[in-house]
């Protein structure tokens, strides 16, 4: 399955990237294809293109703050979780996906 995700944390120094790493690793383990956009202190990195979003079946928001460009994902299946959950219960997040 193709998945896109956005991570963002209050200072944008650590958790944004930890969550991204975690989502990428778990997706790979589960045989999914994922692209994670990080919105941190370095700005938006690995930005999701329109094509990325169009091709994906689901978007995961692992965020602790408001994010930029939320409107890009209108009409998609959205799974929004607290950032901490992406660190601890990553598989549980993927389990929420309606196939």
């Amino acid at each position: 399955m193709k998945i896109v995700a956005v991570t963002a944390c209050p200072t944008g120094i650590a958790h944004t990237y930890m969550a991204a790493a975690r989502l990428e690793k778990t997706a790979k383990d589960l045989g999914h294809e994922i692209k994670v956009e990080t919105q941190g202190a370095l700005g938006i990195e690995n930005p999701l293109s329109e094509a990325d979003i169009r091709q994906a079946q689901v978007v995961i928001f692992a965020v602790a703050i408001g994010i930029e460009g939320r409107e890009r994902f209108q009409g998609m299946q959205v799974i929004e979780v607290p950032l901490q959950e992406a660190l601890m219960n990553t598989r549980g997040i993927f389990a929420k996906i309606r196939s």
């Binding site: 120094i13 650590a14 958790h15 990237y17 930890m18 790493a21 602790a64």
Partner: protein, 842 residues
């Protein structure tokens, strides 16, 4: 000049002093007026208050503020000359007397550090005016007002009471004069001098005698006069003037002791470490306390410029003012005063003691860390040596100067010996001061700058003419020919001192070759005389000049043939270079040493001097600003001379710089379009380009700490010791602010507290590993073994640092990486594993 009916002379003026007519301008005006027989009256037309101009108190009491219109009326036999002199003073010299005696930074009380707050400690806040930490038992001192019932109100016999008054004044005068014979600091001497001036004030005497004439006892009359003048001064809008009320009370209280016997004496005896608490304290009261036991001072209502506070600072007594409820404390209670942050802690509980023990240890570590650099010659990363010398204004500083690691005295401002006194210091007195400096330097160079007065530094007994533009006028070397005797006395004293160490002589404000040749001729003549008198001196004493006037920068070839060294005085050089008066707030900003043109000019000077293998240093404010350091190294200066307290941090910073980098930076700065670009260039430079994120000293293993609060404080303190933050409280607060959003315990025994704050000087990583895991409120609920603290600057966030942090954060999600860190055997292993990871992402 207006002549009115009764033939008095009058003129009016508008008060030009932003701080109003405070003690300094008033005492100069009173001194001048006292030279004349004529009556001189000063009327403040705003409030109709008329002052006797021969009395300082009377002038101060007229409460003359900025822009008040005033008139001066002079009548008497020498009114003509008095009119000319006073008018001249008011019109030309008065503005120069604006700066109050001592300006203290208005420091606000800062809150309790997070560590103490979370331990439930409460504190009384107060404004810190003299830094330090003191602990002791409270001693509460009552008010300065003497109890009036103990004083007989009615006088016995007018002549007898008058005699009492006069005797008590001379007794008080004798006591102060005796005290002044002791070896006093300049601060203490200055304040005693001011007290003598009050004792000699005609208005005070008149007021007391007026009371006696009305039938009151001497004691009652003194008390009335004290209340009268103190009351007048307290009405002033100017805090500096208001605080002089206490000095009046102090003096009158002493007079009172003389006229009514010793029963009023209220000397408090301190037994053991004490924290003295009072509504206010007079200078004499403070001087009477046993300073061995005076751990701290807490005053409810003293202002930052009161003489007691100035004294407390000069004695290094931790002091708070404006602490409101402290008088509720009971005497004999053990308290702690933190005058670094601005509060008093009434209960020294276990966490308080622990915090200050840790802090004392941290401070000691920081000092040791700085001493490593301070007491060794400063060397850049690539091994280039650089001299860091001290600017000195008085002999009192000599001990601390060399403790701070000065490589010499780069500027001894000899004029300080000439200020604050009635006449020129004798050759002997000067010789003592210079020889003391030469001896204290123990073979290190001591650059004695010959007297530099005029401009912003007028000297009353030199009778300098008033000028329209003193900074472009008669000052520095320019006055020497007219004051040859004064100069030659100084040259003799300097030459004699040269026999006792590496003395070098420096001439201020040189404009042209003629001045140098003239000085050298004088020196030669004196050397000749000394030789004839068989008095020892160093015949090869180097002679140098200040580079302050731009003209000398263009005859360096010629000058290098005549002088041995140069020192760039940036304060004056920049104001002449930019044609902007540094005392004029409207244009002072133009005089910006970061201007690329000024840097280019400096580069030309250094190159021009080095072409002839001569030595060139820099004194002045530019040298003392840490952010300029890479530019100064890049210039290739041989030395910088700075206030000695700055030396350890400057030497520490030099050790992290490399000469080629600095040279490159200077070239970039000179090529910048404007000063602001140079400033941001320097900002980027200071933010880490030359400092790695992680150092061995920031990796703490086998920690026995058992709480999150303490662990964070421990890491913050390590940053402080290594000079990565100079505000550990703020850094701690920033970490906790983030921590409270949600715990940074990321699970698997790791926590990664982090923050963006300018409390750190550069991006930094700290590591702490516990012997026994502790609770961190982590997402998986497990205790934490490893804490990795990340801090990055907020205002000029360094992307390279952020990238390293994000990479590190990602890697912590990797079990293998975590395992390697957990299994690391020692500090080196942790460091190399992390460094490997950081370098990979760099």
């Amino acid at each position: 000049m207006t002549k009115n009916a009764c033939m008095a002379l009058e003129f009016t003026f508008i008060c030009p002093l932003p701080n109003g007519f405070h003690a300094r301008p008033a005492s100069h005006l009173a001194e001048l007026a006292s030279d004349f027989v004529a009556d001189c009256a000063l009327t403040n037309l705003r409030n109709e208050a008329t002052a006797n101009m021969k009395s300082v108190l009377s002038i101060i009491a007229a409460d003359i503020r900025l822009s008040d219109k005033c008139s001066i009326r002079i009548q008497g036999p020498d009114e003509q000359i008095a009119w000319t002199t006073l008018r001249h003073f008011v019109g030309k010299d008065l503005p120069a007397y604006d700066v109050p005696l001592v300006v203290l930074q208005d420091q606000k009380s800062r809150g309790l550090p997070r560590f103490l707050r979370s331990a439930g400690v409460t504190a009384y806040s107060g404004q810190p005016v003299s830094r330090g930490i003191g602990q002791g038992k409270t001693v509460i001192i009552g008010t300065v007002e003497p109890p009036s019932r103990e004083v007989p109100a009615k006088g016995l016999d007018r002549a007898w009471e008058e005699e009492q008054v006069k005797q008590s004044i001379s007794a008080a005068r004798a006591r102060i004069e005796n005290k002044m014979l002791e070896h006093l600091s300049a601060t203490e001497a200055g304040i005693l001098h001011a007290h003598l001036a009050i004792l000699g004030d005609v208005s005070l005497l008149d007021k007391i005698l007026e009371g006696v004439a009305q039938g009151y006892s001497a004691a009652q009359a003194v008390m009335d006069a004290s209340r009268f003048f103190a009351g007048l001064l307290r009405q002033s809008d100017n805090p500096y003037t208001r605080e002089r009320a206490l000095d009046i009370q102090d003096i009158c209280f002493q007079l009172l002791e003389d006229v009514s016997g010793p029963k009023l004496k209220s000397v408090v005896e301190l037994k053991g470490p004490s924290v003295v608490i009072a509504e206010n304290l007079t200078p004499q009261q403070l001087l009477a306390l046993d300073r061995r036991w005076l751990a701290a001072l807490v005053l409810e209502s003293a202002g930052a410029t009161s003489h007691s506070i100035i004294l407390a600072r000069s004695f290094g007594i931790p002091t708070l003012v404006g602490a409101k409820e402290v008088r509720d404390l009971s005497p004999g209670q053990e308290v702690l005063v933190d005058a670094n942050r601005g509060f008093l802690i009434a209960e020294c509980t276990a966490p308080v003691r622990k915090f200050y023990e840790i802090e004392a240890r941290t401070m000691q570590k920081r000092r040791t860390s700085l001493e490593r650099y301070a007491l060794r010659p400063a060397v850049t990363r690539d091994g280039r040596g650089f001299e860091v010398a001290a600017n000195v204004s008085s002999s009192e500083e000599l001990t601390s100067v060399f403790q701070n690691g000065a490589d010499g005295i780069g500027l001894f401002r000899t004029e300080m010996l000439f200020f604050g006194r009635e006449c020129v210091p004798s050759e002997e007195e000067q010789f003592e001061a210079y020889a003391e400096a030469a001896r204290a330097a123990k073979g290190k160079p001591v650059i004695l700058r010959t007297i530099d007065v005029g401009g912003d530094k007028p000297l009353s007994y030199l009778k300098m003419p008033a000028e329209d533009n003193p900074f472009l006028g008669y000052r520095g070397a320019r006055v020497y020919a007219d004051h040859q005797e004064l100069l030659c006395t100084q040259l003799r004293a300097i030459l004699r001192a040269s026999a006792f160490g590496r003395v070098q002589l420096m001439i201020p404000m040189v404009t042209a070759m003629e001045e140098v040749l003239w000085m050298k001729a004088q020196i030669k003549q004196i050397q000749h005389d000394l030789e004839a008198q068989r008095i020892a001196f160093d015949p090869s004493m180097p002679i140098g000049i200040m580079v302050e006037v731009p003209s000398v920068a263009f005859i360096l070839d010629q000058l290098c043939a005549e002088v041995d060294f140069f020192s760039i005085g940036t304060n004056d050089l920049s104001q002449y270079f930019f044609a902007a008066d540094r005392g004029n707030a409207r244009v002072a900003g133009l005089s910006n040493v970061k201007h690329p043109g000024f840097l280019n000019f400096l580069q030309g000077i250094v190159a021009g001097v080095h072409k002839h293998k001569r030595w060139v240093g820099m004194c002045g404010d530019m040298a003392a600003d840490l952010s300029h350091l890479p530019l100064l190294l890049g210039l290739g200066l041989d030395e910088i001379s700075v206030p000695s307290s700055e030396i350890p941090t400057i030497k520490e910073r030099i050790a992290r710089l490399s000469l080629p980098d600095c040279q490159k930076l200077l070239m970039q700065a000179i090529a910048c379009r404007q000063a602001a670009d140079v400033a941001s260039l320097l900002n980027r430079e200071s933010n880490g380009a030359s400092r790695s994120l992680l150092e061995p000293e920031l990796v703490l293993l086998e920690s026995e700490i058992d709480s999150k609060e303490e662990a964070i404080r421990e890491l913050v303190d390590a940053f402080y010791v290594e000079g990565r933050t100079d505000d550990p409280d703020r850094l701690e607060e920033a970490i906790w602010t983030r921590e409270l959003v949600y715990s940074t315990g990321l699970g698997h025994g790791f926590a990664i507290p982090h923050c963006k704050t300018d409390a750190v000087s550069t991006g930094s990583i700290g590591v702490l590993m516990f012997r026994t895991p502790i609770d961190w409120d982590a997402v998986d609920g497990n205790p934490v073994r490893v804490v990795i603290l990340l801090a990055v600057r907020e205002s000029d966030g360094n992307d390279a640092h952020l990238r390293v942090f994000s990479r590190l954060a990602r890697n912590l999600m990797n079990e293998e990486f975590r395992q390697q860190l957990l299994e690391a055997e020692d500090r080196d292993a942790v460091l190399s594993r992390l460094t490997e990871e950081l370098d990979r992402s760099g």
